[in-house]
Amino acid sequence: DVKVTQSSRYLVKRTGEKVFLECVQDMDHENMFWYRQDPGLGLRLIYFSYDVKMKEKGDIPEGYSVSREKKERFSLILESASTNQTSMYLCATWRGNSPLHFGNGTRLTVT
């Protein structure tokens, strides 16, 4: 069974702080995704990566960056957190013909 682990379940940060959200998977999947989940807006894709050191912008990349130095780890970085980045962040992995596998999510609050 695929395991996707997000390091923090809840995070509270101040405006302007640099924030790292970590995601680790144990199934050797090439593709990894970061979504944010907001009521009434559903899930919106921030960034995704289809291989180590490769990244692609999703639909709402502004204010975010990512890092994929190892296949199993995909980090989402908020360079300077703002209150409109308060949200639930979901990491997911995918390979070939399988469905997306999601982590438990990180609820980030920026004050």
């Binding site: 559903g42 899930l43 894709l45 692609e56 997911a92 469905p99 997306l100 999510g105």
Partner: protein
């Protein structure tokens, strides 16, 4: 551009009543569609995909290309079906899964 529309934010039904969660999509290619579900305090997980044509937990969904719809149906709702449901479209261009806004299903006893 690809888009998924779920017109209802909340659907409230009584236990034993039929359920239909609506999903419409916009996509120029050959669509691959999914329903994902998120129960309270659990991770988002796949419920079903149209290519499987299977019934999961009593739910079915048929792809209607003419109406560009992929509605989720269940003949008799149960309280444990209460959850957030997302319809999603796999977009080959961009290699990504595009989600609708989601529908909360509340099954009342």
């Amino acid at each position: 551009a690809q888009r998924v529309t779920q017109p209802e934010k909340l659907l409230s039904v009584f236990k034993g009543a039929p359920v239909e969660l609506k999903c419409n999509y916009s996509y120029s290619g050959s669509p691959e569609l999914f329903w994902y579900v998120q129960y309270s305090r659990q991770r988002l997980q796949l419920l079903l995909r149209h290519i499987s044509r299977e019934s999961i937990k009593g739910f079915t969904a048929d792809l209607n290309k003419g109406e560009t719809s992929f509605h989720l149906k269940k003949p008799f709702a149960q309280e444990e079906d209460s959850a957030m449901y997302y319809c999603a479209l796999w977009a080959e261009y961009g290699n990504k899964l595009v989600f609708g806004a989601g529908t909360i299903l509340r099954v009342k006893s």
